[in-house]
Symmetry: C2
Subunit: 584 residues, 2 copies
Amino acid sequence: MQSGSASSSASTGRSTIARIKAFMPIFEWGATYDQPTFVRDLVAAAIVTIMLIPQSLAYALLAGLPAEVGLYASVAPLVLYAVFGTSRALAVGPVAVVSLMTASVIGEHAAAGTHAYWQIAITLAFISGIALLVMGALRLGFLANFLSHPVISGFITASGLLIAASQVKTIMGVKADGHNFVDLMTQLIAQVPNAHALSIAVGVFATLFLFWVRKGLKPLLKRAGLGESAADIVAKTGPVAAIALTTAGTWLFDWQAQGLKIVGEVPQGLPPFSMPVWDMALWQSLAVPALLISIVGFVESVSVGQTLAAKRRQRIEPDQELIALGASNVSSAMSGGFPVTGGFSRSVVNFDAGAQTPAAGVFTAGGILLASLLLTPALYFLPKVTLAATIIVAVLSLVDLGILKRTWGYSKPDFIAVLTTILVTLGAGVEIGLICGVGVSLALFLLRTSRPHIAEVGLVAGTEHFRNVKRHTVEVVDHILSIRVDESLYFANARALEDSINEAVAQRKGLSHVILQCTAVNAIDASALESLEAIDARLKDAGIKFHLSEVKGPVMDKLANTHFCHDLSGEIFLSHYQAYSRLR
Amino acid sequence: MQSGSASSSASTGRSTIARIKAFMPIFEWGATYDQPTFVRDLVAAAIVTIMLIPQSLAYALLAGLPAEVGLYASVAPLVLYAVFGTSRALAVGPVAVVSLMTASVIGEHAAAGTHAYWQIAITLAFISGIALLVMGALRLGFLANFLSHPVISGFITASGLLIAASQVKTIMGVKADGHNFVDLMTQLIAQVPNAHALSIAVGVFATLFLFWVRKGLKPLLKRAGLGESAADIVAKTGPVAAIALTTAGTWLFDWQAQGLKIVGEVPQGLPPFSMPVWDMALWQSLAVPALLISIVGFVESVSVGQTLAAKRRQRIEPDQELIALGASNVSSAMSGGFPVTGGFSRSVVNFDAGAQTPAAGVFTAGGILLASLLLTPALYFLPKVTLAATIIVAVLSLVDLGILKRTWGYSKPDFIAVLTTILVTLGAGVEIGLICGVGVSLALFLLRTSRPHIAEVGLVAGTEHFRNVKRHTVEVVDHILSIRVDESLYFANARALEDSINEAVAQRKGLSHVILQCTAVNAIDASALESLEAIDARLKDAGIKFHLSEVKGPVMDKLANTHFCHDLSGEIFLSHYQAYSRLR
């Protein structure tokens, strides 16, 4: 039972057809697809479509793109994910954090709203898709494990705050720039005198309405007799109601003439066929940001997928998810879209609405396609502040500042990592924030392992069990020093062990045996082996024998052929109790 | 007995005078300084001085500087180290690897031999000294532990090969450029037709003579009746003999008229007072290389110091060494010198010659000062090829390609790290080689901890000890699954544990208890805590109780206040045997 890449070897020895099937999970669920499943998928798709339309438009605007691009990015990716994805309920499309990252990257290359900007968005989706496909082919899904939960949580929290602040600008009807939170807030405060009253009125109404729909409507509906999940689904359609109300208001009262910004003309038609810009210099400068977008999108998608899969005792396969998301992004790039991934809120709605298979995603794609063919004229009078309100309400639900308190109470290194992530993301931007968060969390882990806890242990009376002499009442004898080192021995902590044993031996007179209990030693690298040799040599000079106990199988296998093992002054015992009883 | 920064708190609560004493070890050994110690130090200093003169000249040339700069760098640093250093035998001055790194850095800013080049060398020493002082003040000595022994060994081996190849150029009497080994060798081969026969003749003679002195002379002297250490010391003066012989040859036969390059006029006099160039742009571009030089110098110096201190049961204090080396480098910068550190060969000679205290260093500094005042005219006819030969013989003794074979046999990650270090250093340069070596060794450590070994364990009959069911004959019962995870639980491996337990549980029917033996779990971070909660929830759903056993004190302290601990379906047992006996 070795963990890790066990799944990667699962496909060896199968036939070609079986391999293709493993590569395209659609064959698995497609084989047993029946009418009841079809109906449930169709119902879920209808609900998700209604929810997805305003979200797609809003996230396209957040990314600095024309609203219709949000619809384009919500068709082909859903179909491709249905073919290659392993999650049964994940809904792929534009999401808040990835849209923010997209805006932050492209903003350095072109002005928002221009054609060049859109072309770069397409290129970014393409590169990001290729990166995901390559990582999938190399089975690098495990890399996502190096993003700790607190770092992800801190990153999403800070991104949510940044996004919310950027939308306040739209609601105030003013211009403000900068991906730095402090900068943005300063500008917003300075712009208060220029704020547009009607925009604020409509925007604040839409925001409050959406918050009420989210918090207050569901209990109301339940009291009115609706079932739990029905009430939930009706409440999730709130954004559509907000859109209908404010669009109607604008149409009736001619608000756009009073300066309220509206979505305006949205081109009607199918998503266009598109290709990335083939410009080496551009690709080079987009490479790292695209990779970060891929990783963030992958991590977000996989965590949503895993959460939902666990509820139905299903499994998702991270490496296959890389392939699926890669294909989705490439298809987005080829149909006029921008970077996409599996979104939290839409996937939960899809799941709650009873989606059984990825076919629901295909039906949703059909719904969005219909919308982009027929519905776009209806969006003419839609106020942009309504979309801003949709985004604010959606992202504020992602903000979790409680993570600071929780990690402070439980684990200081996690606290430092999450605080760094939040501060750097807010102060210097999303990309550098994520990199610093991961860097700090890894550095703190390394720092901890480089300073191992080392305890002298003694026998718990009446058992064969040894415990720290400082924490438990235990039996010790004068001529034996039992030491337990609580870490694998490797280059960063090899000297610490040498120092500790030297000090411990210097303090204890009359010693004739030192036994190192290796229960926590999961590996001994070449540097640590040299340190053990040095310890043995020094103890030998002082007339003390050096023993090991409870060396694990994999560690013993390696030690067996070394000089250390042959030259050791003492012995290697199976259990510490054996060593202690023999030497006592 | 907690390891790590214990020493840092040792000074708290002492008087001001005691603190100054701790900061300047000279007060410690100076207080008991007597005549016999004085005599022994003086003898050692005389021997080291003789050895140091040719070495200092050679390393200055290696660094691309005028020969006399090597003498300047061997006076003030020795005195400053004597005041601040904690090693009794370390000899500070120019060393091979640091000189190579110096040449590689400055080569990007100025042409070797120019005044600007020398000014930058002075600035580099200054920045490097400041970096060491700052690291010392922040007590960052522990950072050196992150350089694994194999990486250091690989780095020094590759640097040695690079240096030797660069000296072959001098011996061939041709021009060749490039800090890339393959490049350099290609150029040398292409230059064979232009090689200067006399230079080769003198250079090869000097090289062979020095190798013979090193390997063959000592046994000869011992057979002639000299004692072990006397023979050793006489053999160490070989370079002086090589210098005398070839200088005499040049003087007698007028070899310089036949094209043999000589050292020529070396300015006679005291080291000049000098200051770094105050240019922000230059400082910025030198910052990272200076830091790398500082770290390499520090690591080399501390390993030499520790090896020698261990032989006399003395201790050296890494954080104080940072201060001492920092002061040495700043003083080198202020007296016309370049970056220095504690050198291996000279320190060993100093130690073997009987140096008792750092006062020997002060006397050596006096010797070098006399030499730079009086001896420099005698160096006029010294052939440069002799100095090249000195360097080749010195650095080839540092080359240890056997490290590849040893690490291959014992530890593949160490092998990959050392191979990367050697190849990148040879192929792309010393700085990037070192960075890649450290990066790869840390990445492989992280990768290993992210894929923990997880074993099912059973009771070893007749004991209270549990071992892997696949390796030992042990007792297991059907309704209990005992699992031991061989790693601290943290974000990178939290999912691996979830997956493993899920799989193991899926394979075993009729389970009612899962016990996780935590002997090797030295920490549980916030991400891993969430995973444990998820495991517990999933097992609870399946009607299985989840227990922990042998949770260590420091880990238990943290768990005690968490929801996990209160909501756990099972119990936390002191020993695995207790858990097993109770649940059986």
